[in-house]
């Protein structure tokens, strides 16, 4: 793995935009002294942008360990549920990492991002939404488990349906290339 790749991943973790792969990459390398140094510099740069003083340290390993210890063991009845469990763990790991960042840097809600030249729209983006949808979508048709009441089940039912309706509406449009078809087909694959 190249140094650049690792630094990009680290930057993504800091900006709360890391995918599961990037997160694992950073966690694997977190014993590396150079990476810890880079993390510290990123934090100092960010703090400078926020006019804060801090002494950053890359200590996500212990936070992640704590999160994993708290996490209930994922159910292992079917392959589908196994993957859902993995996503859920990854989500809580993300939260743990971000909690670690916040510990040193209370003011990262404004969205000022080191790797980004222009400010992104000011949104309070919940950290776990992406994985949560994936999990809901994968499990929506495959299991006989009772659905949870409330938010999770509404989103699990509706979002896959809405995504498909959107994709398939585009397929049926006249005078199109194969692209909308391919998008719709990709929603049906697992």
């Amino acid at each position: 793995m190249s140094r650049e790749t690792l630094q990009e991943s680290l930057s993504a973790v800091m900006d709360n935009e890391a995918d599961e792969l990037e997160l694992r990459r950073v966690l694997t390398a977190s014993e590396n002294g150079e990476l810890r140094g880079t993390w510290s510099r990123y934090q100092i740069a960010r703090a400078a942008m926020h006019r804060e003083l801090l002494v950053p340290q890359l200590d996500i390993a212990s936070a992640v360990s704590a999160a994993l210890a708290d996490e209930a063991a994922p159910a292992r009845k079917t392959p589908i549920w196994r993957s859902v469990g993995r996503v859920a763990v990854a989500a809580s790991v993300t939260v743990a990492v971000l909690a670690g960042v916040r510990f040193y840097n209370q003011d990262d809600l404004s969205g000022a991002q080191l790797a980004q030249q222009e400010a992104s729209p000011v949104l309070s983006v919940p950290q776990v939404q992406g994985p949560a949808l994936l999990a809901g979508y994968n499990s929506s048709e495959e299991t006989g488990e009772p659905a949870e009441v409330g938010t999770a089940s509404w989103h699990e039912q509706r979002l896959p349906s809405y995504l498909r309706q959107h994709a398939q509406e585009a397929v049926m449009g006249t005078g199109e290339t194969a692209l909308p078809y391919a998008r719709a087909a990709s929603l049906e694959n697992r």
């Binding site: 995918d19 980004q116 222009e118 992104s120 729209p121 949104l123 983006v125 919940p126 939404q129 992406g130 949560a132 949808l133 994936l134 979508y137 409330g150 938010t151 509404w154 989103h155 039912q157 509706r158 979002l159 349906s161 809405y162 995504l163 498909r164 309706q165 959107h166 994709a167 398939q168 509406e169 585009a170 397929v171 049926m172 449009g173 006249t174 005078g175 199109e176 290339t177 194969a178 692209l179 078809y181 391919a182 998008r183 719709a184 087909a185 990709s186 929603l187 049906e188 694959n189």
Partner: protein, 315 residues
């Protein structure tokens, strides 16, 4: 994609060479699928999904265009279209198809695209062993994504299409692995037995006027408005679709009937989904925006939906 009106071509003589070349390429792209038979295989890739597909595209002597699409790995998703209208669809692709009359014939309108995208020729490439011209469509505002199109030098067909976000990150890839311009045999055009005739789901009524939007990203116009019965619920859902000529998004408005549901945001490859709870006189409604548009734009659209008949036509 249909041919660009002739009057557009007439006005181009005075433009610089680059602009002329762009218009020429867009014109050929628009005409290619109406005039050119071809067959080939392509890949589609987005975050979390990679699949391979075959396409047989046949232009009949009378001008009728027949196209068969088949996924080559995993489940055998299949579609047969005649003049753009689906005739048969396989498996799970079929369950959400709605009434056919609502779709206006969409045309690739170069003038319209020029209003919302900076279009330029970025160079040359080789895709599926064919020389291609690279066309970049960079959005002029932050409300849509950019495209990179690799068009076949010989036919104008899109050999490769990339969707890029505002930081240039790849959101999805569509790319031919092999393409030839021979006419597919009658045999190859025959759908398999699992391709079932399209059954249309009931749309209760057209929904025009029951909802309006205080704000839309510039260039997007309403193309579909329906009230649908949601298959997973007893509720009627208002469905609206908007497009700018390339990108499109859908808006779903569903009465919550007292259920407690939280707002949510998700991204699946190129497609974003934003759900926002909205209070109306008739109770809370969940507004869900789904489309190939940036998250912030989807968020603003969701915030801008309003119940009731518009006083004056919204933009």
């Amino acid at each position: 994609m249909r041919a660009i009106p002739l009057y557009l071509l007439g006005g181009l003589l005075a433009l610089p060479v680059q602009a002329t070349e762009v218009q020429d390429l867009l014109g050929r792209l628009a005409a290619a699928e109406r005039q050119q038979s071809f067959q080939g295989t392509f890949i589609y890739e987005r975050n979390g999904s990679f699949s391979t597909h075959a396409v047989w595209h046949r232009v009949e002597e009378g001008g009728e265009v027949r196209e068969r699409l088949l996924q080559l790995d995993g489940p055998a998703q299949e579609v047969l279209k005649v003049d753009g209208q689906a005739q048969c669809v396989s498996g799970s692709l079929a369950d959400q198809v709605s009434e056919g009359q609502a779709w206006p014939a969409r045309q690739l309108d170069a003038e319209q695209l020029n209003s919302w995208y900076d279009i330029r020729v970025a160079g040359h490439s080789r895709i599926a062993n064919r020389p291609a011209v690279v066309l970049v469509l960079a959005p002029k505002d932050q409300h849509r994504y950019g495209f990179e199109l690799h068009l076949d030098r010989e036919t104008g067909l899109p050999l490769k299409s990339l969707l890029l976000n505002e930081r240039g990150q790849l959101l999805e890839r569509f790319q031919f692995a092999q393409l030839d311009t021979s006419v597919p045999t009658e045999n190859a055009m025959q759908p398999s037995s699992s391709c079932r005739p399209v059954r249309f789901r009931a749309a209760d009524s057209m929904a025009e006027g029951s909802w309006r939007s205080d704000w839309l990203p510039p260039g997007f116009t309403l193309t579909t408005a329906q009230v649908r019965r949601e298959p997973t619920a007893d509720d009627s859902v208002t469905y609206l679709m908007y497009g700018d000529g390339l990108a499109r998004f859908s808006v779903f408005l569903e009465p919550l009937k007292g259920r407690a549901v939280e707002d949510a945001r998700s991204q699946l490859g190129p497609t974003v989904a934003v759900s926002r709870r909205m209070s109306t006189d008739a109770g809370d409604v969940m507004v869900t925006v789904v489309g190939e548009i940036p998250l912030g734009t989807a968020e603003r659209i969701a915030l801008s939906m309003r119940a009731g008949v518009p006083e004056q036509a919204s933009q």
